[in-house]
Symmetry: C2
Subunit: 305 residues, 2 copies
Amino acid sequence: MAPLSVAVVGLGSMGLGIAASLVRAGHAVAGFDVSPEAGARLAEAGGRAAASAAAAAAGADALVVVVVNAAQTADVLFGTGAAAAAMRPGGVILSCATMAPKDAVELAGRAGAAGLAYLDAPISGGAVKAAAGALTVMASGAPQAFAAARPVLDAIAATVYELGDKAGVGASFKIVNQLLAGVHIAAACEAITLARRLDLDIAKVYEVITASAGNSWMFENRIPHVLEGDYSPRSAVDIFTKDLGIVADIGREAKFPMPVAATALQLFLMTSAAGMGRDDDASVARLIARVTGLDLPGAPAAPES
Amino acid sequence: MAPLSVAVVGLGSMGLGIAASLVRAGHAVAGFDVSPEAGARLAEAGGRAAASAAAAAAGADALVVVVVNAAQTADVLFGTGAAAAAMRPGGVILSCATMAPKDAVELAGRAGAAGLAYLDAPISGGAVKAAAGALTVMASGAPQAFAAARPVLDAIAATVYELGDKAGVGASFKIVNQLLAGVHIAAACEAITLARRLDLDIAKVYEVITASAGNSWMFENRIPHVLEGDYSPRSAVDIFTKDLGIVADIGREAKFPMPVAATALQLFLMTSAAGMGRDDDASVARLIARVTGLDLPGAPAAPES
């Protein structure tokens, strides 16, 4: 397959990993991020750092948008970024941000009106899998969008779920996943701090729970951060204030109550309000420890004042 | 090792499985349950159905108590059941009910005063593993309690966690597990009903989520009940009104807030209040569907009136 000209806008850890994977697959990659440092890292990985989203997307066959939410995606494509108009006519947009299904539908409509294909393509897997080209993509869109995006998907993903022929389905699957992921992190943090409060050996709790019916992917993945007292962000608290916020928005709009998800959101908001929004999402455990006067590794009950 | 005389009090699906496993291992097993039918099933499995807890425990080397909670356990041992006083002096009690750690400590103290060893031995794994002699036991107690209980543990469990030399530690581990298990069931039910509300193919949601970061042991185990519309109780809603109730009691007593667990408890209470307390715990999904007017398999939006 002939190499494509691919633009990546948004060069956080996920976007950079995607860009590097595309370079490795032989594609010509240009990228843009509001942070100039991110551009420098892209250049190290063999991509071209452009001065704007439009400059990155100029003539591109495919544009991967890896920003935070629907508003930023819209701004990159059709607002100040003006990236959609810069692409090769008939090119394909892969929209990776977690967003409400209706926003994905709207963006797909605007892309179609601009003569572009649109793949609703939220991603999962974290920075390590992004760097390895081994993401999971929960994708939906027209068959021609899938066809046009295929070389990009092949380069960045280990698993591509093809979930339907309309934008919005991929977004919906991602939202359901994020509801569970967010609740499971909050529950893991409640459970491990309760264990500490009950004077249990929390490393032993990790061993027992990960082999028991109380286990979750998130418990297994995040609790080691608590055991090590390492809250450097692999995934930040404010990812979940955002994603559980989208869940809450959907719930209000659809008159669909989700009390457990709503409560988990409150814990992430408390943790963010306490100054840990950019720290690892396992910081919910630090918040609980701080409130309740518990010692945890790296989170003493009585911090220096 | 010489066969023991073992009594099992409480012959629900867990207790019957334990009794059958003990019979298979060559022990002499007597059992008692308030339900005469359970006694008949014990006899089929090769055990002796006794007319009372004391009659089952008469002269026993070991007594396995598999009832619902601390109050029932105390009643079996020291109350109307009078089983402790009937045992061989120096015998061992294995207490399997989920209970607050302080209740396990108190029961162990009373057993010691009566000249008996006591193993705090909550179990996990469900009816199928109980029948197979493949339970997980989260055990704590004095070394002599472990030693005396060893032939019983060998017969009933695939995994025995030895968690400490005092009663209460096993109970604490089980409570932490139940907090997570209960929250994960409630979250699974919120997520799968949200997926239905978003018009997703919920069988596909199951496939994608079980391979994604939103997975939990409970999502994977319980959501098939929702997909099949089969709410016959593998584990009942009221197990979790009870166990998350214990979590809530501990939280109030210790002044330890657990908002996510508290919210999950409310969902189980609502489901029980709506008449589904003895149905499968995945019935939380039916409750949400009923409240929100969703169709689910086996749970139509508009039931016949």
